[in-house]
């Protein structure tokens, strides 16, 4: 088990290095360099040189990289010139809101996705199965923002049941105190994730149901219920854990889009605005942060896998 952990952490570190190198490299892809993006129309050769020197962009790549990584590790994530705050502050105020959205969405999608996936597998090819499969397919194929727009149209504009925008307040506490405004964003977000979990769970349970150990359990006299929930469920869950890790990028995408559609001031909206403003420090640091979280997430998923499957442990 220890060997397994060490191996995985080592891999994670290598991946992290590659990613950060790539991210920094991205900045230099901008024609004329990142400073040009910063200055926009005000860019004169003199100013470009000045800022290059100031930010260290005229040094060799590896030096820039090391300096940047050093800064990151110290917690210095850069400064947003356009917004006049440090990126760290920005993250501090926006991240909690995004977390609220993501966590709520995840919980709702899991609550529906996992049991329904199991149900579909057990009642395979029944009418309910077909209907639920259809809903899952819709989940994969509907652009998240379109769903958001449609829901806003139906529930906010037409019927005024829910507000058209998400909570606008800046503290988490007051956000949670306004649940009506959270409903549409969370539901939209959860719908996309629900499709993933239920499809995967269905497939995993189906695979497990035809395994020999299920026949043995039945031969012992176990009821179908016990077979499904006592034996198959746990073994099927294992693959969901891995999937959770791999889905982190999708979850980030969804979060960005939801925040844009519902005007919810989390990290996603901030990122989008930074993109429109060419605010590279923000863009870079956010990307790195999310990547680190994804890599950690995958690592945790692997550990979770080892916990659930003793064959990996011993």
């Amino acid at each position: 088990m220890v060997g397994f952990l060490i191996r995985r952490i080592g891999q994670a570190i290598i991946v992290l290095v590659m990613v950060t190198v790539a991210t920094l490299g991205l900045v230099h892809l901008f024609p004329g360099g990142p400073v040009r993006a910063l200055l926009g129309d005000r860019a004169t050769p003199f100013l470009i040189n000045y800022y290059n020197h100031l930010y260290g962009f005229n040094q060799p790549f590896y030096l820039q990289y090391l300096k940047w990584v050093g800064q990151l590790l110290q917690g210095n994530l850069g400064f947003s010139d356009k917004l006049n705050v440090s990126v760290a502050t920005l993250i501090g105020q926006d991240l909690p809101k995004t977390i609220v959205l993501v966590v709520l969405g995840l919980i709702v999608s899991l609550i529906f996705g996992i049991p329904l996936g199991v149900y579909q597998a057990v009642h395979r090819n029944s009418p309910a199965d077909y209907v639920l499969t259809g809903i899952s397919f819709l989940g994969y194929s509907t652009p998240v923002f379109f769903l958001g727009i449609v829901l806003i149209d139906w529930f906010a504009v037409d019927s005024h049941v829910f507000p058209a925008t998400a909570p606008q307040s800046s503290s988490v506490a007051s956000i949670l105190a306004d649940p009506r405004a959270l409903v549409l964003p969370v539901v939209t977000y959860a719908f996309l994730l629900y499709a993933l979990w239920s499809r995967y769970m269905r497939s995993s349970v189906l695979d497990n149901l035809v395994q020999d150990y299920v026949r043995t359990a039945r031969a012992k006299g176990a009821s179908e219920r016990r077979v499904v929930w006592g034996h198959v469920f746990r073994n099927s869950l294992v693959s969901i854990v891995t999937l959770l890790g791999l889905s982190l990028p999708s979850m980030v995408t969804g979060a960005i889009l939801i925040e844009v559609v519902f005007n919810y001031a989390g990290m996603g909206l901030a990122f989008y605005q930074a993109a429109l403003n060419n605010d590279f420090n923000v863009l870079l640091s956010f990307t790195v942060l999310v990547t680190v979280v994804t890599i950690l997430g995958n690592l945790l998923a692997d550990i979770g896998y080892a916990v659930l499957d003793p064959r990996v442990r011993f």
């Binding site: 194929s141 923002f145 994804t294």
Partner: protein, 304 residues
């Protein structure tokens, strides 16, 4: 007579030889595919939408180049079946133009990413060892990046045209394909019929080309169809964020983006639902096709 002759004679006499015609791999796959109603429906829709977008403009001619503000947001009527948008363009015509972009980009990005990902994954899987380990770390890195964020950054940097968008999207999709193909290659490499090539004196290249690739092609094709659906979705996301193609070209996502502006002011449903539904139906069709293909290539192998 020898044993072999005796066996053959008896079996022939007893009529113990299967009589149905042998059928090739793709024909059998098609047979299974055709049994899947959803797959057929998906295929039918895809053919329809291709015709709609590419042949349609010749049959239903509208002016998609010059704006006509007298038609600003006109309601559906006899002249404009789905109304007009905020620049006076006919909505159905717009759908066709947008569709052309969406489908082109979707198909092209899928092809590029699948081809590249397959080569990468096959080489990595077949080489094994340190080469494989390093190549896969690159793939892991790619899969950890939040692709939308990077896409956005790239779109900001490059102010993309249709061609650059194809590559930008493809750059992110190939990681997943590579990992999948590598897995297949490793599984196939250990099959006995691949080892048998060595025993009869064949070179490794022969094993890859004649034995591994044909057996992996099913997975690759399935992955390709899903790639198209994903690419169309991704393009629509970019379009929605106004980071996609520039006017007068448009795609379904950009149409939705401009439509969103008018949602509060009144009921301009024709700006929103048609493009959205086009995206959904096209994606779902490709997903159905992919699902049906997956079954088609698998059950065929299990038929004994």
């Amino acid at each position: 007579m020898s044993e072999a002759q005796a066996i053959a004679a008896t079996e022939a006499e007893l009529g113990l030889t299967p009589s149905d015609k042998p059928r090739g791999m793709f024909i059998r796959a098609w047979e299974v595919f055709a049994e899947n109603k959803l797959g057929l429906a998906g295929l039918a829709f895809v053919i329809f939408i291709l015709l709609f977008c590419f042949v349609g403009p010749h049959l239903y001619v509208t002016n998609q180049v010059n704006t006509d503000l007298t038609n600003y947001l006109c309601h559906p009527s006899g002249q404009h079946l789905l109304g007009c948008d905020d620049l006076g363009y006919d909505e159905i015509g717009r759908l066709m133009v947008g569709g052309q972009t969406s489908l082109e980009v979707g198909l092209a990005a899928a092809v590029v990413s699948v081809v590249f990902g397959t080569l990468y994954g096959a080489i990595s899987g077949f080489a094994g060892g340190i080469t494989d380990a390093i190549m896969m770390r690159v793939v892991d890195a790619g899969l950890s990046l939040p692709y939308l964020m990077v896409l956005i950054i790239l779109s900001v940097i490059f102010h993309p045209t249709v061609t650059t968008i194809i590559f930008i999207i493809a750059i992110f999709y190939w990681f997943g394909v590579a990992r999948l193909v590598r897995g297949e290659t490793i599984a196939l490499r250990n099959r006995e019929y691949v080892q048998a090539v060595k025993v009869i004196g064949g070179r490794p290249l022969r094993a890859v080309i004649r034995h591994i690739v044909p057996n992996a092609i099913g997975t690759i094709i399935v992955q390709g169809t899903f790639a198209v659906a994903d690419a169309i979705l991704t393009l629509s996301v970019l379009g929605f964020l106004t980071l996609g193609v520039a006017p007068p070209a448009t795609d379904w996502g950009s149409m939705l983006s401009s439509g969103l502006n008018y949602i509060q002011g009144g009921n301009y449903w024709w700006l929103i639902y048609p493009p959205g539904i086009c995206i959904i139906l096209t994606c779902i069709s490709f997903n159905f096709i992919g699902d049906a293909l997956r079954d088609a290539f698998e059950t065929r192998l299990q038929r004994r």
